[in-house]
Assembly symmetry: C2
Homo-oligomer: 253 residues x 2
């Protein structure tokens, strides 16, 4: 498969490297900023371009991995293409594209950091397409780099993204709160790491509701009031402790 | 090492099985309820007892793994023992014991479920002791089943437990919220599982603050207000969304 990337950030980097490792041809990296296009293109043996007029019009797949607000502008500026044009955004509707003949969404539900190279082989790819041909190309591409792809339309993708904010972004913030309590009192965060892993591991084979533990689900008011006392100097954490404990109690009524 | 368990619940079961697998002698299981003592004793080739007068007074270690509120009563009812008596509770002070000559705390920071057998080999064991002899015995015992033990006094252990409520109990509840949004809209929770794992994995080698992602840390007000609209029929979730997003924004100011 011949693939062109529009964008050179985290998502473009990880996807392009995955396709390259899967033996596919990443022919061009386009970016507004030449240095960025070059930096990524070099690692892939691809050509860096900054002018959309230079776009290889014979690729099978054009993946737009730019900031959400720039997607429709990039799509509108593309020349006429026979291949499939897809964006990679969780929060953007498929309607942001429209002008290409065959288009869609190729959204990897995974968290990317520049530093850390990530194995995408079990990252779910959420696919949406304007027509059957586009879907077929996206599915073929998905199979090359991951064992899991799901058809998810734009409406559902928004809800999926929202669910991920709860389960992942917010969880990370709660890790940080645990970290900050421990640091404040000279406790080594290392002690907590295995429990964080096991908590995530547990819900791989269980409904989270069924494996909820802790004072709130036990209705252990004594421990909860002791915890609030321990947080006397941290009203911000007290607030969150109360909100989430109340929510656990209501959910498990 | 010759070990006696007082209690037959989740913690007693997992610890006793770990010691047995490490080639140690678990000689007796005491429980108020004979059937419970027997059920666990059978899996270990141990003797089930319900009367503390029958206690083997020549064991090296007596681990009390009963409900928090029963710990001091069980400890006070013990005959005079040369071995070390330790409770296994995160939330209970070492002072709940006192009557034995050598005593302490042997607290595994891990989440146990009856169904799931857990490898304790990387579970941190938090140790506290009345004296050097007790600490030496607890450290020897810890080394037999886990690669990580930490001296943690009662005051610090409370703070550790509180940190775990934030990082683990509350995170699990947020998984459940993600689950409930997905279920409500016919989305397969399977899609979210790899991201949950990766979120936990990321903080094994990074400070959570440094790997925070999502609309709140980006200050992406548009996405946040769209998310709140999507939750119009779930005021409970809206409330939590607002509280945690505000907290992320303040933390990253």
């Amino acid at each position: 498969m011949k693939i062109v990337f529009l964008g050179s950030g985290n998502v473009a980097t990880h996807l392009a490297q995955s396709f390259k490792q899967a033996g596919q041809e990443v022919t061009q990296i386009w970016s507004k900023t030449e240095a960025n296009a070059r930096a990524l293109a070099q690692t892939l043996g691809a050509v860096a371009i900054t002018d959309l007029a230079e776009l290889d019009i014979y690729a099978d797949l054009y993946l737009i991995a730019v900031k959400d607000e720039a997607i429709s502008d990039v799509a509108a500026a593309l020349p006429k293409l026979a291949g499939v044009v897809a964006h990679t955004s969780g929060a953007t509707s498929i309607d942001a594209l429209q002008s290409p003949e065959h288009y869609g969404v190729f959204y990897p539900l995974q968290t990317f950091s520049k530093q850390k190279s990530i194995d995408l082989s079990d990252a779910p790819l959420c696919l949406e397409a304007s027509d059957a041909k586009a879907m077929a190309v996206l599915q073929d591409a998905a199979k090359l780099i991951s064992s899991a792809s799901y058809p998810v339309d734009s409406e559902k993708r928004k809800l999926l993204h929202l669910s991920a904010v709860f389960a992942c972004n917010f969880s990370n913030h709660l890790y940080q709160m645990g970290y900050s309590i421990m640091q404040q009192h000279g406790l080594d965060f290392e002690i907590l790491k295995p429990l964080i892993m096991e908590t995530a591991r547990k819900v791989q084979n269980a409904v989270p509701f069924d494996v909820q533990t802790g004072p709130a689900v036990r209705g252990d008011e004594e421990t909860m009031s002791k915890h609030l006392q321990l947080l006397e100097d941290r009203p911000d954490l007290q607030d969150i402790y109360k909100t989430l404990s109340e929510s656990i109690k209501k959910t498990h009524l």
